[in-house]
């Protein structure tokens, strides 16, 4: 065995350019496989990352009566936060309200949040203003369906804590763009301080968003803590389904690499018939020759991976950290184009899995054409006669 390995190695090095040609092609395929799968994983996970950044943060401490899918729970689903340690929690108070853009009535959820919060990517700092009108921040979908644009003023109606109706002008201070539709439709964001003022529900919240440093994990009295994973459960199910279809990509990509190896092997065996004849004349059994060629094929793949790692890892790393920017031309009413960044994700499972898969399949693919050797006539091979 050891001899075969040594011999195989020497053959490869001896072949010089041809070897390195094959190795570089293979290493390229190897890196491409990793890159590709990383891209797909990243694309799938993007939705998760976005949802965390825009909606779930590090989890929600929710009032036990509040059910985000049941607007009927908004009325009673809130309590005072005076007894809570809010150093890493961002309170949000939700009330039902109506807004009247151009005389039409829209029922909305009015969400008060601290303008200087850092748990979510929402541009809430725009709500830090002293205008007489109530400042509102809305998402692009909300803007589209309501017809409201930045700077527009519309009448807002709500009920205070006793059920008394009140109404006042509200101004749209900003419209944000997000890929997370659940925080967009039917919702208006305002400063929680202002909301406390106008509803008389001072220091009350419906739920609190935990930021990265939040250490608590359990429920506290009236409040139920929903972890990030719990909140993302539905999304994770979707991603799991996507993964199944992603495995088809993986298989198809592996096939490129294997094609390259197969191609090399077939041609090499074809070309080196004289050499094969020589081996056999020198006393190697046919199966030993087969083993030799198989190991050569295997070595290609190992060399390719080593080479691939050398030049691939820095590049893959760079993209994993900085992401791949791509511009999306958004030719809608607002005429803004956003630049989005895609982060490939390379899990250890992916890398190890690819390595093992490449090694195993490379071995098989090298072995198959090598079997032809067993059918060769040693004398004819030695003579160099093409068979």
């Amino acid at each position: 065995m050891k001899q075969a390995i040594k011999l195989a190695y020497r053959n490869l090095i001896g072949a010089g350019l041809r070897t390195w040609l094959n190795v570089s092609v293979l290493s390229f395929s190897f890196v491409v496989i990793l890159f590709y799968n990383g891209l797909i994983d990243g694309w799938n996970k993007q939705a998760r990352r976005d949802t965390i950044e825009w909606e779930t943060g590090n989890g929600h401490l929710t009032h036990h009566l509040f059910d985000p899918f049941d607007p009927y729970t908004i009325l009673d689903g809130h309590a005072s936060i005076n007894d809570l340690d809010v150093s890493d929690l961002n309170p949000v108070l939700v009330r039902q309200a109506s807004i009247y853009p151009e005389g039409r009535m829209l029922t909305v959820a009015l969400k008060g949040i601290k303008p200087n919060q850092s748990a979510l990517k929402l541009p809430t700092q725009m709500l830090d203003t002293n205008c007489t009108e109530i400042p509102l921040l809305i998402g692009q979908n909300m803007a589209r369906s309501s017809g409201l644009r930045k700077g527009d003023i519309a009448l807002l109606q709500w009920k205070d804590k006793n059920g008394t109706l009140d109404a006042a002008d509200a101004i749209i201070v900003d419209v944000f763009k997000t890929t997370v539709p659940t925080i967009d439709g039917g919702q208006l964001y305002t400063s929680i301080n202002r909301l406390w003022e106008i509803t008389n529900l001072k220091n009350e919240a419906t739920f609190l968003i935990a930021n990265k440093d939040y250490n608590g994990s359990g429920n506290i009295e009236n409040w139920v803590f929903k972890t990030q994973d719990e909140l993302l459960a539905t999304l994770d199910k979707v991603i799991a389904t996507e993964k199944a279809s992603g495995s088809i990509f993986y298989i198809l990509l592996m096939l490129i690499a294997l094609l390259a190896i197969f191609d090399t092997q077939v041609l090499s065996i074809f070309r080196r018939q004289k050499e094969i004849g020589t081996y056999m004349a020198l006393g190697m059994t046919k199966s030993q020759v087969v083993k030799l060629f198989t190991i050569e094929g295997l070595m290609y793949s190992i060399l390719a991976m080593i080479v691939g790692c050398t030049w691939g890892i820095p590049i893959l790393n760079y993209f994993a950290n900085n992401g791949i920017p791509y511009p999306i031309d958004n030719m809608d009413d607002f005429g803004i184009s956003i630049s989005s960044i895609m982060y490939p994700i390379y899990s250890l499972k992916l890398i190890l899995g690819t390595v093992i898969a490449v090694v195993i399949s490379a071995t098989i693919v090298s072995y198959l054409p090598a079997r032809k050797i067993t059918k060769m006539n040693a004398v004819d091979a030695l003579k160099g006669k093409l068979q």
């Binding site: 094959n22 395929s29 199910k237 279809s245 041609l267 999306i328 030719m331 895609m342």
Partner: protein
């Protein structure tokens, strides 16, 4: 000349067959993967199309302005005339009418008083027609948890979670309470014949599905519909075509004074899907480019090796007096021929694969967590025009490039060396 080369290829199977096969495999992989990526990227869009936007959607203008409120008081009326017109003008499109509504579902106790009730989002689609594609489009059958799809008036599906919440299940009667198109109260009893899983928390919390004729009755929408959705055959979205159809339809109503005149929008024009579509296009384009590049490298290598392999032959031919340039030209032409043959073969195989996937799809239910309406567990691909030529990029150009590069060896080496390179 070509005939000569052709004959050469056909006769010398051992030399040319292999490159052709390898090229064909490479090309078919390229084509297949490109088609597959397009299909996979299209998933999100597909979801929106099936449930919300259709490939094209017709509503009245006021309904469009308020569409998030599902204002049935602003719905389309005289819908059968509208459908006739749509089927006449655009016969290749499947046009479906739907009604979306909201209300309360009330479950009675034994005396007929309210036992429990809950708010529900309502969806009325064509369940009863014989050729209706809506059931498949909504992926209803695999998403049924218990029972069956409604087959006659008065039958309804509700979401499984909702059924448990209001403690009403198969065989139970519930009452739907809502508003008719005119604002009157609508009460209607329904028998629950099945429960379904939507796959979206919001819908699973409270939703009811009924046939569109039932909705038209209880909501006083005689010959009415909230929206009419249009779908391309094979459910494959073609944006240019959709926009053309929408423009043509809207032109007919340009001068209409009826404030409830219909207006059509393509998928891209709705719901801010423009950016999602562009995103999917960019992503799939990127993936395909990377793949084509990788494939090209492999086939370039093949071409290179193929050329290197034949140094002996070239040596002989040079010795026989053939000019170097002539040999080179012949090499290239052969490579072109092989490339084209392989690409044609590969493209056919690849396209067949993509088409099969488009029509039949791969069922991954056993690998996926749950069957529900929103995420069908069938993987599909998509045949697009560029699939017809995309295989040729690696197939022909890469091959030829590889061969050309290896041919340079002819110029560099002495004839005798070539001769001896693969000694006899």
């Amino acid at each position: 000349m070509i005939k000569f080369l052709f004959k050469g290829i056909l006769r010398d199977k051992s030399r040319s067959l292999l490159p052709i096969i390898i090229t064909a495999i490479g090309v078919s992989l390229t084509v297949f993967l490109s088609g597959y990526i397009r299909g996979a990227m299209g998933d999100m869009i597909d979801l929106n199309a099936r449930f919300e936007t259709g490939h094209m959607k017709v509503m009245t203008q006021p309904y469009l302005k308020n569409k998030d409120q599902m204002p049935n008081d602003l719905a389309l009326l005289e819908v059968s005339d509208l459908m006739d017109k749509l089927n006449l003008d655009f016969p290749e499109i499947s046009w479906e009418k739907r009604v979306r509504f909201g209300g309360l579902v009330d479950s009675p106790d034994s005396t007929g008083l309210t036992k429990s009730q809950g708010p529900a989002a309502g969806l009325a689609i064509d369940l009863f027609s014989e050729n209706s594609k809506e059931v498949d489009r909504m992926n209803l059958a695999p998403a049924i948890v218990q029972g069956r799809i409604p087959q006659k008036a008065g039958e309804a599906l509700i979401s499984e979670d909702f059924s448990q919440k209001i403690k009403a299940g198969l065989g139970d009667d519930v009452t739907f309470v809502g508003s008719t198109m005119n604002g009157s109260m609508a009460f209607q009893n329904f028998n629950i014949v099945g429960t379904v899983r939507f796959g979206s928390a919001a819908m699973d919390k409270g939703a009811i599905i009924i046939d569109i004729t039932d909705a038209q009755n209880i909501l006083d929408m005689e010959d009415g519909a909230g929206e009419v959705l249009g779908y391309f055959p094979n459910d494959v979205y073609d944006n240019d075509e959709a926009e053309a159809i929408a423009a043509s339809f809207n032109a007919d109503y340009k001068d209409s004074e009826d404030e409830f005149a219909p207006i059509m929008q393509s998928l891209k024009q709705q719901n801010g899907l423009a950016s999602l579509l562009d995103y999917a296009d960019v992503m799939s384009g990127m993936f395909v480019a990377i793949f084509v590049f990788a494939m090209s490298i492999v086939l370039w290598n093949t071409g290179l090796l193929g050329g290197l392999r034949r140094y002996q032959e070239y040596g002989i031919r040079l010795a026989l007096g053939e000019a170097k340039g002539h040999i080179y030209k012949m090499m290239i032409s052969e490579a072109v021929l092989i490339g084209i043959l392989g690409s044609i073969l590969g493209s056919i195989i690849g396209l067949a694969g993509v088409y099969a996937l488009q029509v039949y799809g791969i069922d991954i239910s056993q690998f996926a967590p749950q069957n529900n309406m929103l995420m069908p567990n069938i993987i599909r691909a998509k045949v697009t025009p560029d699939l017809f030529y995309i295989g040729f990029i690696p197939g022909v150009f890469a091959m030829v490039l590889g061969t050309a590069l290896s041919g340079i060896g002819i110029y560099k080496r002495e004839t005798a060396t070539l001769f001896k390179e693969l000694e006899v």
